[in-house]
């Protein structure tokens, strides 16, 4: 009877884990279901880890949306990053990367940028601005728009390249208890809100527009 009870406990635990695994897989796959609205020709999919992906178009830009779980920073709660990439030719030759609250473990950000640029005075001080030669030009152009974008504390990174730009924002933060006890990542998020995605997309389009069609104000900044 004693051995039987042990076996029963093991079987129940296994069944419970299988059920949880299925639920988890369904959760990952459906995270972007509410975000197709702003895109034309939206295509939902899944990445190799089972997280939802979304592709589509907005105007001239091809939009690629991904979710990146990040459990790599020692002594920081797990993060779920929303990564929105706009692929379109931009009016810049340089690469510019603006990273908020760097911890050194941002594997999703470029690691080999040679220049470190001074942080504009109006921005939060714990910001890392890096780039390639000539990155000061897009930085000067984009500073007013970036100031607004970076005022949202959820924004983690803005990357500008000649082929497009990418915004990384916090979609959710892991629950503390789950992380502490088993290093699990349980994000209190059923689906990504369409408003958050739309806001991020709008920020990206604003940045692209500012670079491609400088207004008089930004043209003045670039010239300066």
């Amino acid at each position: 009877m004693f051995a039987g009870l042990t076996l029963l406990i093991l079987l129940c635990s296994a069944a419970f884990c299988v059920r949880q695994h299925r639920r988890e897989a369904a959760w990952r796959a459906g995270l972007l279901d509410d975000c197709t609205g702003p895109l034309s020709e939206p295509r939902l999919g899944r990445d190799r880890a089972g997280f939802a992906t979304l592709r589509g178009r907005v105007g001239p830009a091809v939009v690629d949306v991904r979710l990146v779980p990040d459990t790599l920073v020692h002594r920081r709660l797990p993060q779920l990053w929303l990564r929105v990439t706009l692929r379109m030719p931009l009016e810049t030759e340089a690469v510019l990367d603006v990273l908020r609250r760097p911890a050194g473990a941002e594997f999703y950000a470029p690691d080999q940028l040679p220049l470190r640029l001074p942080v504009p005075a109006a921005w939060p001080a714990d910001t890392l601005v890096r780039g390639t030669a000539g990155a000061d030009v897009p930085l000067a152009c984009l500073t007013p728009v970036l100031s607004r974008v970076l005022a949202d504390p959820r924004v983690k990174e803005v990357l500008v390249t000649p082929d497009g730009l990418r915004l990384t924002v916090q979609a959710s933060q892991g629950a503390r208890g789950t992380y502490l006890l088993l290093r699990g990542s349980r994000f209190p998020l059923s689906r990504l809100e369409s408003d958050q995605f739309a806001d991020t997309l709008r920020d990206g389009l604003d940045l692209a527009r500012t670079l491609s069609e400088p207004s008089s104000e930004t043209r003045h900044a670039c010239a300066a």
């Binding site: 002594r75 709660l77 050194g104 939060p124 208890g177 088993l182």
Partner: protein, 484 residues
């Protein structure tokens, strides 16, 4: 027993330094991020106790072997004073150095790269040796349980030690994200196991089950035994200081952090005393002082099969969960050192699919297995405690430097601990006492460990430091330290 309380990504931190134009702040106000500043002292308490409680199932009893049961209890109280100082100092530093990375990042900002390198190594060594200890306990536990089922000789505990390390490393390699919701069940089961055992031994009727009168002798090695027991006395609380890392999420750091941490320590003290009371009333100190699974052994001695099963599951859950946390933490600390170029950058790689520091995880598997199958439990625990102790010693120096470089008023502090520099001095004195205690029982291990850290430091200064990217590491918006 894990030694971590994570910080939140600082999404709601006010923009320090530069002011953002009012117009620019409006959207942020509309899209206020949740989750911040939600914890009270009760949360800090619960989380602190939850992660340290595992230590009741193994390790603490080696203090009994060093000086007898009474000496172990005295050492438990003395270690409590040490941890009070640690908690006070860590509360101030953590609530001010709001950079994720814990003591590693703090040492980087306050002392410098060499200290950060050493703290990183302490963390990795403490976690890895703790993982090894948990694997040893799991192997011993399964072997003992198999014997109870009549399978004597059929099971080799070393196989289960290896299996534990490999299976958990595989899970960490794959990056199991939120697939388990058993965590609360596990903690509750572990806690309930201790309480049920306590009740089952009828502590209200001395002599019925518990035989303190016959078993609880005087100090077998005199007062020197209390000093020697200080070594393993640290095990009662190791990791509780991690509660201070929740500084960014508590509503009132100045109140919640010390209150939550202190009440957490009191709870652990009570839990440790209950554990001590039950075990010392069932086993002679000579046996208790070298048992691998003291609570499980106590349950077996009661003669109840149900209680034995309950404590088997409680111990198994607790040690496996702890080992899992250790693999996770050691690999992240090693990964961070790789990213900072303190270690070869090869270790800073991330798995393209699973998003885990897979090279750091795999690197420690053979090391953990080698220690698990070849080293006694008391020695692996000693290595873990020593690494923790070295970290506490640096913490005492760190707070002195912190107050000197950035005096009160020069930067905004979330919490200012009282009576400075008394806690730092007391902490240093107690650390020295504990080094002496370790030297008395494990002098060779102490010297070997010191030689290892000194050699590693020399390698870092003479060779590795030239690869470190110095400028990118310092991100705190602080003024220049005084004197620089």
């Amino acid at each position: 027993m894990t030694t971590v309380q994570p910080m939140a990504e600082r999404v709601s931190a006010p923009p320090a330094g530069g002011a953002i134009p009012a117009a620019a702040q409006a959207p942020a106000a509309n899209r206020r991020v949740a989750l911040l500043r939600v914890l009270g002292p009760g949360h800090v308490w619960a989380l602190g106790v939850g992660i340290v409680l595992v230590g009741e199932f193994m390790g603490w009893n080696f203090a009994v072997g060093k000086g007898g049961a009474v000496a172990a209890l005295a050492a438990c109280w003395l270690a409590g004073i040490l941890y009070t100082c640690v908690a006070m100092i860590d509360s101030e530093i953590t609530s001010t150095v709001a950079a994720a990375g814990g003591q590693y990042a703090q040492a980087k900002h306050i002392i410098g790269p060499l200290a950060a390198f050493n703290v990183g190594l302490y963390l990795v060594m403490a976690y890895t040796m703790l993982e090894v200890s948990n694997a040893i306990v799991t192997g011993d536990l399964i072997e003992a349980f198999a014997q109870s089922l009549g399978l004597e000789g059929a099971i080799d505990k070393r196989a289960f030690m290896v299996l534990t390390v490999v299976a958990l490393a595989f899970l960490n390699y794959r990056g199991v994200l939120a697939t388990l919701t058993l965590n609360l069940v596990i903690t509750a089961a572990a806690f309930a196991a201790i309480v049920v055992l306590f009740v089952a031994t009828q502590p209200w009727a001395p002599g019925a089950v518990l035989q303190h009168e016959a078993l609880l002798g005087a100090l077998p090695y005199g007062s020197l035994g209390i000093l020697a027991a200080m070594h393993f006395g640290l095990w009662f609380y190791l990791g509780i200081e991690g509660t201070t890392q929740a500084a960014e999420e508590v509503r009132s750091p100045a109140r919640a952090l010390p209150l939550g941490t202190m009440t957490g320590m009191m709870t652990l003290l009570i839990a440790a005393t209950l554990t001590w009371y039950v075990c010392s009333g069932l086993m002679p100190w000579e046996y208790l002082g070298q048992a691998v699974t003291p609570l499980y052994d106590a349950a077996r001695l009661t003669g109840s099969r149900w209680l034995e099963l309950f404590l088997f599951l409680g111990t198994l859950f607790a040690t496996v969960a702890s080992a899992n946390g250790c693999i996770n933490d050691a690999s992240r600390a090693w990964f961070a050192m790789g990213r900072d170029r303190y270690m070869p950058v090869w270790f800073g790689a991330v798995h393209p699919t699973y998003r885990t520091p897979y090279r750091a995880i795999v690197f420690f598997v053979p090391i953990a297995i080698l220690f698990a199958v070849s080293t006694p439990l008391d020695q692996t625990i000693t290595f873990s405690i020593l690494s923790g102790l070295l970290g506490y010693t640096l913490m005492a120096l760190s707070i002195v430097l912190f107050r000197r470089k950035w005096p009160l008023g020069s930067i905004q502090r979330g919490y200012v601990h009282p009576l400075h520099p008394l806690p730092a001095v007391l902490l240093l004195v107690l650390c020295v006492v504990t080094y002496l205690a370790v030297f008395l029982g494990y002098g060779t291990q102490l010297l070997a460990m010191m030689a290892f850290y000194i050699t590693a430091s020399a390698w870092f200064v003479l060779h590795r430091y030239k690869y470190v990217r110095r400028g990118d590491q310092f991100t705190m918006p602080w003024p220049k330290p005084r004197g620089y």
